[in-house]
Symmetry: C2
Subunit: 247 residues, 2 copies
Amino acid sequence: MWPSSIATAPVEAREPETGGRNGRAAAIYRCVFDAIVDHRLPPGAKLIEEQLGDLFNASRTLVRSALQALAHDHIVTIERHRGAFVAAPSVADAQDIFFSRRLVESAIALEAADRIGAAEIAALRALLTHERDALDRGDRRAAIRLSGEFHMTIARVTGEGALTRFLASLISRSSLVIALYGRGQASACGHDEHMALADALEAGDGARASALMALHLDHIVADLALAPRDEAQLDVVEILREQLARP
Amino acid sequence: MWPSSIATAPVEAREPETGGRNGRAAAIYRCVFDAIVDHRLPPGAKLIEEQLGDLFNASRTLVRSALQALAHDHIVTIERHRGAFVAAPSVADAQDIFFSRRLVESAIALEAADRIGAAEIAALRALLTHERDALDRGDRRAAIRLSGEFHMTIARVTGEGALTRFLASLISRSSLVIALYGRGQASACGHDEHMALADALEAGDGARASALMALHLDHIVADLALAPRDEAQLDVVEILREQLARP
DNA sequence: TTCAGCGACATTGTATACAGAAGCCGCTCG
DNA sequence: CGAGCGGCTTCTGTATACAATGTCGCTGAA
C-alpha cells in the first residue's frame, strides 16, 4: 500500500539546514560556513554585518539571518551589542563534542556494519585513497575535510536524518576544535584507524567497528593540546585571584 | 530532597536555543515553543508574523528571528512566500525521529547506569509519581511533558552538552509526532517501562537499561498510527501515478 | 453549473533608517 | 608623565517602509 521508497527517501533532502532561510541567505551561510570549517577564518575572528553585506551585495538583514543560523550551529558566537565571532570552543566544549561523537558514532558503526553495501564500502575506500594522498602531500586542509567525509559516509549508511545532521554539526565543530587545539599532524592522522574501521565494516563485524570507532575518537581527543588558550591573559587573572585569596 | 518544581520545569531550562538571540526574541521563541509542545498549537497551524508581533508587542523582525530559530529546530516549517506553520512531521520523519532516539538514548542509558547518583534516582522516582498522577487524572498534556522530562533527566546524567540538546530537540519533535499520529492514551503510556528503566539504572545494570530503553522506544513507535494523513489527497495522486504507469 | 482567467488583498522578502550600547581615543587634570 | 574621564565613532538592535509573490474570490463564458 505504501511505496517502499518511503523507507529510503531522504527525510529532508531539500533544505541545506540554514534555519529555514532560502536562496541568498543560504549562500551567505554556506560561504561563511565553508570558510570557517576550512580554517580560512580562524576562531575568534570578528564577523561584521555590514562588511559581509557589502561582500555579498546583500543587506544586513540577510547577513544577520545567516549569522543567526551559524550561531544556532555553534559555529559562530553572537554576543549582545558586541557582534558575531567565529566560535572558539572552550576545552569543556571540545570534550563535550568528542564525548558526543564517541557515543553517537560508536552506536552508528554498530548499526552500519549490518547495513553497509558494496557501493558504500567502495566509497569509503576511495575516500581513504584521497586521504592518503592529502597526507602525503601535506595538505592538512584536505585531510581534515576528507576525514570528516569518511565519518559522514559511515553515518549516512544508517540513513539521512536528524542523526546524520547532528553528526555533521559535531564534525564541523570538531574542525574548530582542531584549529584551536590541534598540534602537528596528529589530529588528521587517524588514517590507519580509518582503514581498520573500513575493514571491520566490510567484514560486517559491528562490535569490532564500534570499538574501533570509540578508540579512534579517543585517540583524536588524546592528541589534542587541551590546555586553555590565551594563557597569558588567563594566567594574570588566575594569579591575581590566588594572590587575593592568600592570607 | 529534590524540589518538586523540577517536575514543571521546561525541558530546556537554561539555553533557549534561539540561535544566539537575546531577551525578547527568546521570549517569543519560548512561548511559541511551549504552545506547540503542549499541543495548544496543532501541527499545520499557520503562524502569521504580524499577528504574533501584535501579541508580543514586537515588530516582525523579532518574530521572524524566533520563527527562524524554531524552523531550525524543525518545530516550525517556513515556506518561501507562504509563511510559517507548525511542523507536521511526515511518517518518514516520525520514523527517523524515533530511530535517532533509539540509537542515542540506548547508548545514553548504558552510560548513565554507571554514573547515576542517589539524587538523580530520587528525581526519576519523583517524576514517575507525578506521571502516575497525571495518568490517573487523565491529564494527557502533563503526562507527555513528564515523560519527556523523564527521558531528559536520564540524559542529563551524562552531562549537559550537545548530546542533551540534541535529545531535547528530538523529544520536542516527538511531541509533534504524537499530536499527529498518537492514538488514545497509548503513546504516553510507557509508565511501567519507565519504572523498569529506573530500576535498571538504580541497579547499575547498564546493559539491561539500554535494552529496556530500546524496547520502550520501539513500543512507543509501534503504538503510533503511522498512516499518512490527508489520505484522500495522497490517494488521488497515487492512483493517478499508477494509472499513468499502466501500459 | 463549472471552470478558466483575472484582479485585489494578504503576507512575506528585503532594504534602510534610526536609536542605543560598547569601545576607543584624545583631553584634561593631578 | 600617568590616570581618569567625556565625547566620538562604530556597530548592533529594532522598527518600518517598500517590493515581490502567493492566495482567494469574483466574473464571465462555455
